[in-house]
């Protein structure tokens, strides 16, 4: 079920160009590309049956996958900036700021700010009538750091320049030095509010690599915390969206719902962000789920009433309709993931398409809308909250007995490449582990949904104005920490 490629399979694909073309023809969805070093990269696509298929390509210049899969472009830039990988026909200007490298590569031992930051890429539009307004990296409110530069022509934003990477912590560089036991601890903190999904993807990859089967009770408990994570994040994103339409009382009530959910999670796991549950081989401790089904039902009643009140507020619905349109064709070509993709007709959900753990035994609805506007994204989240609460109830009521954890290996197989995934709040989370000849981790890739969706965002701002931008950005609800890593 999960892709485990042992020694024989870490072999390099002889003809990556025709392999990519074949996958394009069969309608595969592009998932990720990551540099392993200056001459190797791993490609992952997902087939029509939902299975994730990785392959490794090597060469001084790798084929340009962006001609077949447009979303590959930003991954190729990342691989070049961070791992020195080169691609046929693409010249990266070392004198211009990249997404992740804002300064020239520091010499060993040099101070952090030894070099001046590189200049931003020259704007495509310039001249007298174009007004440029920078917004960031320090933005309004208690939000994450990024830079958006608006190019105004009259009343319209004709272009939005997006500069990310302010939060780049080189997390993927640190991960291979963690012990197997510490891997989920690190993964939980790469993107804090998506911690459970990140830790799950990481653990799935380790478990695949070492051939462990997780006990059913642990699978069920993992699913419960993963769904609780989805619920509080969705309340938070809905709250930000409501606040962006200046409906203050409505926003406060979303905050209250989020707080109740986080408190429910803290009562269950001890941690407001549900950390310290997911471990390699199972879960770290048992959770007392008596009363959880009742709490979930209560939350569902409150959530339903709240969503109905929002739907009945014309002022709110009108502001979202047709705002921040992401056309279904574009979303499909890009392979947009998570609630953003599902609001534009891309019906992917790893829990259903490539099921893992307790989701194998669950039948549930994956809400999909075709409108592609902020309202559709809002409705996807509302419905997902209800589906998640249903799943929590179902799983808590039929929780299997049994052990919580099988012992994890202290080392991994040699020369292996293993894949793990989970459906996070903002789209699928994919982990790729690569080990060297001694069984030590040589590379860890952790890609969340926000990493995939952020490069798609600027297009939806074009030809709108600033009030729409605020609503549009809130409706995407993407995490910067998850992108920058």
């Amino acid at each position: 079920m999960r892709a485990l490629l042992r020694k024989a399979d870490l072999r390099v694909e002889d003809d990556p160009t025709s392999e990519l073309e074949r996958r394009r023809r069969t309608g595969d969805r592009f998932v990720l590309l990551a540099g392993l070093d200056s001459e190797r990269a791993v490609y992952v696509t997902s087939g029509r049956d939902g299975a994730y298929e990785p392959f490794v390509a090597a060469g001084a210049h790798l084929p340009d996958a962006a001609t077949l899969f447009p979303s590959a472009a930003s991954y190729q830039a990342e691989a070049h900036e961070l791992w020195g990988t080169r691609f046929e026909g693409i010249e990266f200007d070392p004198g211009v700021r990249g997404t992740f490298r804002h300064r020239p590569v520091p010499s060993a031992g040099a101070a952090l700010e030894a070099d001046e930051p590189l200049p931003l890429p020259a704007p495509r539009l310039a001249g007298e009538p174009v007004v440029r307004i920078p917004f960031g990296p320090v933005r309004d409110g208690t939000v994450e750091s990024l830079l958006h530069r608006f190019h105004y022509l009259g009343e319209h934003i004709v272009e939005l320049e997006q500069q990310l990477g302010y939060k780049h912590r080189a997390a993927e560089g640190r991960l291979p030095r963690a012990s197997v036991e510490q891997l989920p601890v690190f993964a939980e903190r790469v993107s804090g509010p998506n911690g459970v999904a990140f830790a799950l993807a990481m653990c799935h990859a380790v478990e695949t690599a070492s051939g462990i089967t997780v006990p059913p009770r642990a699978d069920a408990l993992r699913a419960i915390v993963a769904e609780l994570e989805r619920v509080y994040n969705h309340f938070r994103d809905i709250g930000r969206l409501v606040a962006s339409t200046t409906l203050r009382v409505g926003a406060a009530q979303a905050h209250a719902l989020q707080e109740w959910t986080q408190r429910l999670g803290a009562g269950l796991t001890g941690h407001r962000f549900l950390r310290g549950v997911v471990a390699v081989g199972g879960v770290r401790r048992d959770l007392d789920v008596s009363g959880l089904a009742r709490e979930a039902s209560r939350l569902e009643v409150d959530a339903r009433a709240y969503f109905e009140a929002l739907e009945a507020t014309e002022l709110f619905v009108d502001r979202l309709e047709t705002t921040g349109m992401l056309a279904p064709e574009r979303a499909r070509a890009w392979g947009a993931v998570g609630p953003v993709g599902r609001a534009s007709g891309v019906a992917t959900d790893a829990r259903r398409d490539a099921p893992y753990g307790a989701y194998r035994d669950q039948a549930f609805r994956v809400p999909v809308f075709d409108a592609g506007d902020a309202l559709a994204r809002f409705r996807v989240r509302c419905e997902e909250v209800l589906v998640s609460l249903y799943l929590i109830r179902e799983i808590a009521e039929t929780l299997p007995e049994g052990s919580l954890r099988v012992s994890a290996p202290s080392s991994l197989p040699e020369d292996a490449l293993a894949l793990g995934w989970s459906e996070g709040v903002r789209g699928e989370v994919v982990a790729v582990l690569v080990t060297d000849g001694g069984g030590d981790l040589s590379r860890v890739v952790l890609r969340g949904g926000s990493r995939h969706n952020w490069p798609l965002f600027p297009d939806t701002v074009h030809d709108s104005f600033l009030m729409d931008y605020a609503i549009n950005e809130a409706s995407w609800g993407l995490s910067v920490a998850s992108h920058d890593r």
Binding site: H102, R103, P106, L112, E113, P117, V138, D140, G141, T142, V143, E144, S145, Y166, K167, H168, R169, A170, A171, G173, A178, E181, V185, F186, R189, V190, S191, G192, P193, N194, G195, R236, L247, V249, A252, Q253, H255, A256, Q258, E259, Q262, R263, G265, A266, G267, G270, H271, R272, F273, R275, G276, R284, A305, A309, A312, T313, V480, A481, S482, D484
Partner: protein, 269 residues
């Protein structure tokens, strides 16, 4: 609009009595470790120290030092060494100097609780403290908790603490994350734009010491390396209660429920 007013009235008041009273049990969560009230046990404490991903536990010849400024609350220490470390409190730990976050215990002797507050803040900010937040590369969770301070359950405004957009209006700069090389300039510029007198608050283990990312080639070892820090709020992320505690200490206000830090004897089960 009428519908929303009616809904609000129906829901009623949700706000915590903290900090005038101890917080409700359900508001607790995201704990940090403490040294066992009976004192650490040598062989076991070493096991706990080796499990720690950030090196927050330092074992020497006489005993153990636990640095909450580096601790990310992963719980591996109290799982591996339950006779030396316990699940401790999640709030009431903010300090005005780095040493106030270090607990020390000799083998078999109850830990010494460090003095966390040694400085008298000016009375200027007691009734109103305006805070500018800068994200220096956090994992995003602290921003969730900061936003939750505006939730009805916490309602930070009632305590005279406000988040402001303009650094010109700000009294305190609250920094999250280890400060990445890309954010150093923006952070400095924000600090310089603030009028004196001003405070710097480092919230979370990443901001205090670099946390998990300390030693990476693109992050500094916490805010200290860039700006002078006045208040440290440990946690990963600090819970809303811990943030309220730290912000009130920054504003020079003291409350009985905060002054009495929950003792380790109370939290050890």
């Amino acid at each position: 609009m009428f519908r929303w007013i009616a809904r609000g009235l129906r829901i009623g008041t949700l706000t915590t009595r903290f900090p005038r009273q101890a917080p409700e049990a359900e508001a607790l969560g995201s704990p940090l470790p403490g040294i066992h009230p009976r004192g650490p046990e040598r062989a076991e404490a070493l096991r706990g120290a080796s499990a720690c991903p950030t090196g927050a536990i330092d074992v020497d010849g006489d005993g153990v030092t636990l640095d909450l400024g580096r601790c990310i609350g992963c719980g591996l220490c109290w799982e591996r060494a339950p006779a030396s470390f316990v699940e401790g409190p999640s709030y009431g730990l903010a300090a005005d100097r780095r040493a106030g976050l270090r607990a020390r215990a000799r083998w078999g002797v109850p830990p010494e609780v460090p003095a966390r507050w040694t400085r008298q803040m000016p009375s200027l900010w007691r009734r109103s403290l305006h805070v500018r937040h800068v994200d220096g590369g956090s994992d995003g969770a602290v921003e969730f908790e900061l936003a939750q301070l505006n939730a009805p359950q916490y309602d930070l405004h009632r305590l005279g603490v406000f988040f402001t957009s303009s650094p010109r209006h700000a009294d305190a700069l609250l920094v999250t994350g280890p400060v990445t090389s890309a954010m150093v300039e923006a952070l400095r510029a924000t600090f310089e734009a603030m009028p004196a007198p001003k405070l710097v608050v480092a919230a979370g283990a990443d901001a205090i010491s670099g946390g998990l990312w300390a030693g990476s080639e693109v992050t500094s070892m916490g805010v200290d390396a860039v700006l002078p820090v006045d208040v440290y709020i440990p946690g990963s992320p600090p819970s809303p209660l811990a943030l309220i505690d730290g912000l009130l200490l920054a504003s020079g206000r003291r409350f009985a429920a905060l002054d009495r830090r929950p003792s380790l004897l109370e939290v050890a089960r």
